[in-house]
Amino acid sequence: MRGVAPTLALLLLSGSALANSAEQRGLELALSMDAAESGYGDYTADVTMRLYNRKGEESIRQMRFKTLETTQDGDKSIVIFDLPRDVKGFAALTYAHKQGADDQWLYLPDLRRVKRIASVNQAGPFVGSEFAYEDIGSQEPEQFSYKFVGEQRYEELPVLVVDRFPLDENSGYSRQAVWIDAERHIPLKIEYFDRKEELLKSQIFHDYQLYEGRFWRPAQVEMVNHQVGKRTVVEYRHYAFGTGLNDADLSVEALPRLR
C-alpha cells in the first residue's frame, strides 16, 4: 500500500498498451482503492471474530491488531491473541512484501520460543475461521491482474465491479469479484471463486466509519462459506490511527514481551 505514487506510475506505464481496455480500467480502480486506504501511517484495533458452524453454534476469538505502513514495501503487522484462553499470549508477526512470499514469525509463549515459519500457506484458514490468511493479510495491487466488469447498483449505491485474478500460485482462488463503492473507492462485497471456478465464499463489509476525516474502515466484516455452510463475522473496535508505532514495536524482538 505504500509507495503508491511510483507504483502507480509503473503500473500505468506497463498498462498503457492496454489503454482503455477492461484490464486497464480494473487496474486503475485497484490503485485508487489502494490509495484511498493508504497513508494512515499506523493503526491499532481490537478485533473480535465470531465463528459459526453449520448448526449456528458460536465460538469467539479475540485479538489485537497493530499495523505499521512502510514506504518501500508491504505492511508490518502483529496479531496478539487474547481469546480463547489457551492461545492467550500467542502472537504472529508478518512483514508483507509486494513481491515474493511474506516473512512470518510466531511466538509460542509456553516455550518462550519465537519460530520463523513458512508463509506459503495463503489458502489456509486463519484460526479455524472462514477467512484464509490471504483474506486477512495486507493486499497489494501488484498481487493481482484485473478486469473491469461493469457498473451496477449494490444496496442502492452505485458500484463498479472488478474481477481480480491472484498471481500467487499458492492462492486458493481462481478469481475474486469485487464490488467497489463508486464514490469512496472502498470494497462493499467480494465474491471468492475456488480453483475449480465455483463460488466459494462471499465477504460483505458492513457499517463503514470515517476516521481522521479520510479513512473509511468497516466496523464489521462477514464471510460466508457457501460450500460448507459456515460463517465468520469480524468486528473491529477501538480503531486508533497515528499511535506512534515504530519498527521496534513490530520486530521479532518485541514478540516475547507482548501480552
Partner: protein, 399 residues
C-alpha cells in the same frame, strides 16, 4: 509441597528488588492462568525398587503482568505449582518467570528469572544452553527451569546482540525414588561442582542473531557451569552423584526457508573437564497444505543428530535419525497431532512419541502425550527407561 525447587539458596538477592517493581503504578495489569490434571499410565510394571506404577498430577500456573511508563517497562510474575501422587520429587513450587523488562531506543534490559529458547531443530536442542532442563516435568528435555539473569539486548542493522550474566546456577531435576522415567539408582541431591564458587559461579553468555532474507543465522557462546551433569555411582553404590564441570561452548544455528521447505542446522563445540567434542543436528521440515478437506495440513520432519561423545553422554543422540509428522486440522478446536520416531543408526534401539491436543470449548482443552522405548541397547542413554513406555492424558481449564 515436599520439595521446593527454589529454596532461596541459589536465588540472588536482587531478585527481591525486581519483585518490588511489581508494585509500581500500573498502566495495565492482568492475571491469567490454568489448572491442569494429568494422568500417566505406564505399559509395564516398574523395573526399580521403590517406584510407583502410575501417577496423577495436578498443575497450577498463573501469569501476572503489568506494564507502565507508556509501554517502556514490563513486570511479569509466573508461579507454577505441581502435586504428584507418585513421586514426591514431582511435587514442586517454582517460578516460571519473575522479571522486569525495560525498553530503550535501540536496546532492551531484562532482569530476573527468565526462560528463553535458542535453536531451530525439533528433535534435539543442542544450542539451547541458558536454561536448565527440567526432567521431572517432562522426560523429553523440552521443559526448562527459569534462570536468574541480567540480559542486555542490542538491536541494530547488524542484527541483534544479546549479552547475558547468569548468576545462580540451577541443578537439573531428576525423578525421585518413587518416580518412573529415572535411572536405576536415584540421583543424589548434593551435587559437586568444578567451580570453587559452586552454585555461586557467575556464568556468562552471548548470542548474535542476523537475518538475510529468509536465511537466519545465530552464533552463541557460553562460559560457566555445564547444565548437563556427569553422573557417577557413589561409594555405597546407592546413588548417582551429579558433577557439574565448567565448560566453554560455542553454538551455531542456521535456518533457511524455501517456500514450504525449511532447512535447519544446529552445531556446538564444547570443551571442559579435559574433554572436547562437537555435536550437530541437521535436517528439514516440509509442509503439505490443504489436505483432504482443504483445511488441514501436515508438516513432516527429518533430522539427523550426531554427537562426538558417542554413548557416554547423559542424554546424547549420538547417531540418530528422527522422522516426524504433525497434523494440524486448522479447525475451530485447533486440533493437532504429532507423531515422531527416532532410530539409533548404531542399532541401539528406537523411541517413538505422540503428542496431541484439542480445544473442547473456550476454557477447556484436552491433551495426549506418549513415549515409547523399544529394544534399547545397554550402552545407550535411554537404556534405563526401557520399561517406561507411557501414555498420558491431560485436561486443562484456563482462566
Amino acid at each position: 509441597m515436599s520439595a521446593l525447587l527454589y529454596s532461596g539458596r541459589s536465588l540472588p538477592r536482587w531478585l527481591f528488588l525486581v519483585t518490588a517493581l511489581g508494585a509500581a503504578p500500573p498502566l495495565a495489569a492482568q492475571w491469567s492462568g490454568a489448572v491442569e490434571l494429568e494422568g500417566r499410565r505406564f505399559a509395564a510394571a516398574p523395573a526399580y525398587p521403590g517406584q510407583q506404577r502410575d501417577g496423577v498430577a495436578l498443575r497450577l500456573r498463573a501469569l501476572y503482568t503489568r506494564e507502565w511508563g507508556e509501554g517502556s517497562d514490563y513486570f511479569t510474575c509466573a508461579p507454577v505449582a505441581r502435586i504428584d501422587s507418585a513421586d514426591a520429587a514431582r511435587s514442586t513450587l517454582d517460578l516460571d518467570e519473575l522479571g522486569w523488562t525495560h525498553l530503550m531506543s535501540d536496546s532492551e534490559l531484562r532482569l530476573g528469572l527468565r526462560k528463553l529458547f535458542w535453536g531451530v531443530a525439533e528433535s534435539n536442542h543442542l544450542v539451547d544452553i541458558v536454561n536448565q532442563t527440567d526432567l521431572v516435568d517432562n522426560p523429553d528435555g523440552e521443559s526448562k527451569l527459569a534462570q536468574p539473569m541480567v540480559n542486555l539486548a542490542l538491536f541494530g542493522t547488524g542484527g541483534t546482540l544479546d549479552l547475558f550474566l547468569l548468576p545462580g546456577f540451577r541443578e537439573r531435576t531428576f525423578p525421585g525414588t518413587a518416580g518412573r522415567l529415572r535411572t536405576p539408582l536415584p540421583v543424589a541431591e548434593n551435587p559437586h561442582f568444578e567451580a570453587d564458587q559452586g552454585r555461586g559461579h557467575l556464568d556468562w553468555a552471548a548470542r548474535w542473531h542476523y537475518s538475510i532474507g529468509t536465511l537466519d543465522l545465530a552464533l552463541s557462546g557460553f562460559h560457566g557451569t555445564s547444565r548437563e551433569p556427569n553422573l557417577t555411582v557413589d561409594e555405597q553404590g546407592r546413588h548417582l552423584l551429579p558433577f557439574y564441570p565448567l565448560i566453554d561452548q560455542a553454538g551455531l544455528e542456521l535456518q533457511y526457508i524455501d517456500d514450504a521447505l525449511i532447512w535447519k542446522l544446529e552445531a556446538i563445540r564444547r570443551r571442559g573437564s579435559g574433554q572436547r567434542f562437537s555435536a550437530t543436528v541437521a535436517g528439514f521440515e516440509y509442509t503439505f497444505y490443504g489436505l483432504a478437506d482443504g483445511r488441514s495440513d501436515a508438516t513432516t520432519f527429518v533430522e539427523y543428530s550426531w554427537d562426538g561423545r558417542d554413548a557416554q553422554a547423559t542424554y546424547a543422540m549420538d547417531n540418530d535419525l528422527f522422522l516426524g509428522v504433525r497434523f494440524n486440522l486448522n479447525d475451530t478446536s485447533a486440533s493437532e497431532l504429532m507423531l515422531g520416531w527416532s532410530h539409533d543408526l548404531d542399532g541401539g534401539g528406537e523411541m517413538w512419541m505422540v503428542e496431541g491436543q484439542r480445544r473442547l470449548d473456550d476454557n477447556w482443552r484436552i491433551g495426549l502425550e506418549g513415549r515409547g522405548f523399544q529394544s534399547v541397547d545397554a550402552g545407550e542413554a535411554a537404556y534405563p527407561l526401557r520399561h517406561d513406555t507411557f501414555i498420558q492424558f491431560t485436561l486443562e481449564r484456563f482462566f
